[in-house]
Amino acid sequence: MTEPTAPPLVEAIDITQRFGSTVALRDARLRVLAGESHALVGRNGAGKSTLVSVLTGLLAPNAGEVRFDGEPAPPPADRDAWRSRVACVYQHSTAIPELTVGENLFLNRQPTSGGGRISWRKLRAQARELLDHWDVRVDTEARVGDLTVENRQLVEIARALSYGARFIILDEPTAQLDSNAIDRLFARMRALQSSGVTFLYISHHLQEVYEVCQTVTVMRDARTVTTAPVADLPQAALVEAMTGETAPESATAPGGARAGGPGDRPVRLDVRGLAGDGFAGVDLTVRTGEVVGLAGSSSSGKVALGETVAGLRAPASGAMALDGTPLPGGDVPGALRAGVGLVPRDRHDEGLVPDLSVAENATMTAARGLGPYGVVVPRRRRAAAQRAIADLGVVTEGPDQPVGALSGGNQQKVVMARALATDPKLLVLINPTAGVDVKSKQALLDVIDAVRTTGTSVLVISDELDDLRACDRVLVFFHGRVAAEYPAGWRDGDLVGAIEGMSDD
């Protein structure tokens, strides 16, 4: 697509970025050629976000330089010049939810007619033209807050392109998409690529890198450790480059395949004819020490079912019982008392209070054990937190550090600690490894194996096949009902097919 002699579209040369005494980037290098889709991978905290901030001009590095087309980058204050070269679509929307799609596209540059008065007619027309040009089928008058994640991303990409940028950074774009939307996004990326747009693609899902990217750069410990064509770097080598250690042989071996299955143990969770927000007629039993997975697309009702069991939602009808005792509906403290622990869907929304300490977050559910009569004895809280930090391998300064300062994987471990703090009989894990790095993911999945040996039952609700591999069996939800069931040892293709609603025969 470009002559080999042409300078790279984007080049970061020996970037070093310090925050106080810590080094976030150390001599980081990146060369992105025009027209390619370039993956940037690395564990949480490897320096990807910092590198993106440098590439988009939000951070001026302590050393090194960024070049676009061989030219030095514009000065940090010249935002317009940066915007015309590079744009980043972040995982969390940077569009303003209360404003329309059209206004978001032309924010602070709304077309005017005489006297500086905004011409809404022109704005609508220009927005329509822009969206049509990039084949984005979204109503310009829709509120951005009402869009699906998929359409919101497309609008943000269109906005970036309208500034003239042909280098787009996508920061974990698939994290909140179901697999159909992911396929559509990839098709869109390929189409844009063929019309001359270059992507830097950041993802924790390595198979996506192979699907959509030509080149990959791996970051580790604040450095860029390798850049190679994806074809030359098989997945094992990629993981090795990310972690700096040889990947264990079959790290995700099916856990349910072990001897002594739970088939004859007493029933722990018994759900009969349960109906609620987006699901109906669900029967489900989980035995003592059994790990059951719930799979399904994002609208299948599986998350709502998990939240209902944990008391976050009230069921419309049906019965739930834990060890034979009915579970209260829509009553989180009641569910906790009964012995249900929960890792909620999104740690930012429901998992953590960012300004509070690791200790406080990790023990927030603990009703007893921290002191008598509702008193919290700080020494006991610290001790409990210290145990959780050690058990789960949370990387932190200590129990007193605000949890918001931790990396994503470590934050998620604190959420897990919070769920375990009550010694639950049943652990409900919703997307337990969303947005965490490879190593934290393993640590979190190891928890499942650890608790099942003590007789704790686990309900794993996830879109991630790796999360579901540890399950004794996996139930697939489709349109609010259990559509299929697979014992451990399923093939990926079968499960994915069932999730997408393909008939199973």
């Binding site: 970025q17 925050f19 106080g20 005494s21 810590t22 080094v23 976030a24 980037l25 564990r43 949480n44 905290g45 320096g47 976000s49 910092t50 580790r220 410990d221 604040a222 700096g244 944990a310 976050l312 989180v332 403290p333 569910a335 906790l336 929960l342 909620p344 929304d349 429901e350 998992g351 953590l352 209070v353 960012p354 300004d355 509070l356 406080e360 977050n361 927030m364 559910t365 921290l370 002191g371 509702g374 008193v375 919290v376 004895v377 700080p378 990387v395 932190t396 300064e397 200590g398 007193d400 550090q401 605000p402 918001g404 300062a405 931790l406 990396s407 994503g408 470590n410 919070r418 190593k439």
Partner: protein
């Protein structure tokens, strides 16, 4: 993974300034103390009367009512809500207590209930107002700012209506006892405020329900998923704040020696100023009672200095406002913390 790189990694993505140690975080609570010391030294130099025993007692007595209301407001702010109507509770709660006690000849309702009942009724009125605010804000999910603004106006109007705008002053001595009685040379009202702050500070630090306020203000969704009864706790805080404001009102009545229909009017601005200067966030989830107390004292000292300087009453508002701005600036610099 080595320790150094982990550090780097953690801080690189840290939006909350995690690099700072616990000691620095602890010191932030004391950030206003230097400003307070400077102000006291300044006052002592500028005015010989300032550091006298009588004047210090007067500062404490004058600040006690504000302190109790700031305490109530502080609890609500930490939970992520707001209650502007506390300043009207300061007026109406003691007024109702006085009206049922006073004979008709002294502008009372003529019921002439026993004094004890009247005093108890003050607390009940505060609790009921807090409960009603909680009903609107927590149960019906109306906007806390506007609800409490409307309640501020309604309650003030009720007070003016009940008293027909007259000042009540013939109350039994018990109504003035909090401000007029001293223990160890210090007014009971100041002791009361100090004890209330101490208890609240301990509860916020060492009780689960206290920590729940921070969790709710910091992220109500996470608090709910952790089994905290968010609505119940928030509603209770409104009731407690109403009771604290009613006690503050009784203290104010005792300090002034009479109960004017505009008792507490415009007080909420001082309350908010003291709270924010003291490090509480209007977004919730942040701040301590010690910080709020230093905010109260800062405002108390400034008001006292203005009185000692015999500033003309025509100018006192402008100067007070300016001083709040300066105090906010000082707090911003000494705490290094963005005020939200």
């Amino acid at each position: 993974m080595t320790d150094v790189s982990t550090r780097a990694a953690t801080d690189a993505g840290a939006p909350y300034g995690g690099g700072r140690g616990p000691l620095v975080r602890r010191l932030r609570d004391l950030a206003l103390v230097p400003a307070l010391v400077v102000l006291v030294v300044l006052g002592a130099v500028l005015n010989g009367e300032f550091l006298t025993y009588a004047n210090i007692i007067s500062i404490l007595g004058a600040s006690a009512a504000l302190a109790l209301v700031v305490l109530g407001e502080g609890l609500i702010l930490i939970s992520g809500k707001i209650d502007l109507s506390l300043e009207s509770t300061v007026g109406i709660a003691p007024a109702v207590g006085a009206l049922v006690v006073l004979p008709a000849a002294s502008s009372g309702l003529g019921l002439q209930w026993p004094t004890g009942v009247g005093l108890a009724l003050i607390l009940v009125v505060g609790a009921v107002i807090g409960w009603f605010n909680g009903l609107l804000v927590v149960r019906f999910k109306l906007n806390a700012f506007i609800v409490s603004l409307a309640m501020l106006i309604v309650l003030r109007g009720l007070l003016v209506g009940f008293t027909k705008g007259k000042t009540l002053f013939d109350m039994p001595n018990a109504f003035f006892a909090l401000a007029n009685t001293t223990v160890a040379g210090i007014p009971v009202s100041a002791w009361l405020a100090a004890v209330a702050f101490g208890l609240a500070g301990l509860a916020l630090r060492y009780l689960r329900v206290g920590r729940a306020l921070y969790a709710i203000g910091g992220n109500a969704g996470a608090a709910r998923a952790a089994g905290i009864r968010v609505e119940r706790v928030t509603w209770s805080v409104y009731v407690i704040a109403g009771v604290l404001a009613s006690v503050g009102g009784l203290v104010q009545t005792g300090y002034v020696g009479a109960l004017n229909a505009n008792q507490g009017q415009n007080m909420i601005f001082m309350v908010m100023a003291a709270a924010v200067i003291g490090g509480l966030s209007l977004d919730g989830g942040k701040g301590t009672m010690f910080g709020a107390l230093t905010g109260v004292l800062l405002i108390g000292v400034v008001n006292n200095l203005l009185t000692l300087a015999h500033v003309s009453s025509f100018w006192i508002q402008a100067i007070q406002g300016a001083i709040i701005l300066v105090a906010l600036g000082i707090a911003r610099v000494t705490t290094g913390r963005a005020q939200t």
